[in-house]
Symmetry: C2
Subunit: 327 residues, 2 copies
């Protein structure tokens, strides 16, 4: 009955893809991502093989309300990493992001600039309106980039919905980006951003009100019981690059803190637990609704519901009975 | 192994709640909703019993971008229904809605007015940041209101996220609310609102630009192949009640269309199918992660992942093997 055995031989096509992937071919990464996104036969076996080395890259989430300049900030960070010869992956999980087409001209130029650099791999993933599973896939794409050997992964989310929060949980360091416009400091606390931030950035800090938001945030952070990591609040101007090296330093310091405190292993274990649950449930859904037996049960049950001789609850119980007990 | 049998006797407390519910006690509806929301033991058996009569109420979804006056429009519709002595249920699935506290003064007065009317039952449900299951619960709350005998159900969503789209799929008639401000017509098409609308409303139609948006929408609708239902585009001013009787008429005409074309049964069957899937998967998740056997397997698997001797994919395969094959 099991449809997934990760130790099974790969389909031939994926076996040759795996070779190219391990050889570091950029096109193999792109093809592997498509395989994962489309859940092609053997994709879990493929992931099982490429992930056996475990996570290595630094995973940085950049989140915050729309219009904060997250994409520009990611572009600025990516440029700095490239100057240091790091291989960079960018995943934008946000349909309004410049990475996926909603760009201002300035951002677009920056992005095109990045897109021509072969040391950077950019992938946009839409979330809006999709029904289930996409959060899991986004995280698997991040894993693929990691396994491919990209050393810095920058993940952009809007940070309001469930999917975005889940993806935020998939990174080591969460950078929350705000802007000087009034109220943002308070908004951040309301929206739960306070709980997820490892680093706060007030971007567009050349605008009026930057220090006000900065002070707001610092007061709010001061009120919270101090953990082992003192959450820094930084000012940046992504368009000019001002403050970006300091942000990069803070990200590195947070990574050191995670490693030294053992928190990195705790976070990775938590992520692995979430992943096991997702993979299990996805496979189970496949077994549950892919089989002709349950499909027929479902149709018969819907007839009964329409005749008022059953409810969704009794139909669900019958389906579960067949799946688990064979009766 | 099955943990859900809807024909089992109810826990004593729920049995007496069921009596009060069937007797039409308003407090019983409120308590029943809490039971569902908190997934208290026996909640599925309770739902099985109250839903045996099937859906009867008219379910109207009101959606659109924030700031369109959806809450005011719902209040205006509710007032009209109350004038006709209908019993009305309102479910607001939107954390920024006046129903849940983000009100302008005018809206707040209208809402308080409604809250004092015992023929109206209002329930707000937050979605933001919650992890899974809430969409299902919201729909079960709508079912409860229906089973209780409320005849008109008004469901407010923002209509952007996955949860909101799912809930929109849980109603008979979808009213999409826009405002005269430029670009909204085009935005609507982009955001997929065009695909879900049964009726378009340009609210705040006393503002400049209303006719422009109206024409935009009508042109866009004209371009689409005509179905059996010609989607009306109406103008309203919720604050004064202007155009609201016409909206109510359009909703009724749509309901008639659904009944006569057989589409109502098709939609209800589709909803029942979604519900069966949700209930089955929720129960399965409970069995999967509630058992001590799988919990121990998960922990052992995480240790192996940390030692790089397993991946989430091989651990998931082991857990599935135990659940389904007992090996």
């Amino acid at each position: 009955m099991i449809t997934m055995d990760p130790t099974e031989p790969l389909p031939e096509e994926l076996a040759s893809l795996l070779e190219l992937f391990h050889a570091g071919k950029r096109t193999a990464l792109a093809r592997a991502i498509s395989v994962i996104e489309n859940e092609r036969p053997g994709f879990q076996e493929f992931l099982h093989r490429v992930l056996d080395a475990g996570p290595r890259a630094q995973r940085i989430g950049v989140t915050g309300p729309p219009g904060g300049g997250k994409s520009s900030l990611i572009a600025a960070l990516a440029h700095l990493y490239r100057a240091g010869n790091e291989e960079v992956g960018v995943v934008a999980v946000d349909p309004t992001s410049p990475f996926s087409g909603g760009a201002l001209l300035g951002d677009r130029i920056r992005m095109n600039d990045l897109a021509n650099d072969r040391g950077i791999f950019i992938r946009s993933m839409a979330t809006r309106g999709s029904l289930g599973g996409l959060a899991a896939t986004s995280k698997e794409v991040i894993d693929l980039m990691d396994a491919f050997g990209l050393t810095r992964l920058l993940i952009e989310t809007v940070g309001v919905g469930q999917t975005e929060l889940e993806i935020t949980g998939a990174v080591d360091t969460v950078v929350v980006v705000l802007v000087p416009e009034s109220g943002d400091g308070i908004q951040a606390m309301k929206a739960g951003l306070m709980e997820i931030a490892d680093i706060f950035v007030v971007n567009k800090a050349d605008r009026p009100g930057a220090d006000h938001v900065l002070n707001d945030l610092q007061s709010a952070l001061h009120l919270r019981a101090g953990g082992a990591w003192a959450i820094p609040v930084l000012k940046t101007v992504a368009q000019t690059g001002e403050g970006v090296p300091e942000l990069l330093d803070a990200v590195d310091r947070h990574r050191e803190h995670l490693e030294e405190s053992g928190e990195l292993e705790v976070r990775r274990r938590g992520r692995a637990a979430v992943r096991v649950r997702e993979v299990t449930e996805r496979a189970l859904r496949g077994i549950l609704w892919g089989g002709t037996g349950t499909a027929a049960l479902l149709e018969a049950g819907l007839d009964e519901i329409q005749r008022r001789t059953a409810t969704p609850y009794s139909v669900a119980a019958s389906i579960l009975g067949v799946l688990l007990n064979g009766d």
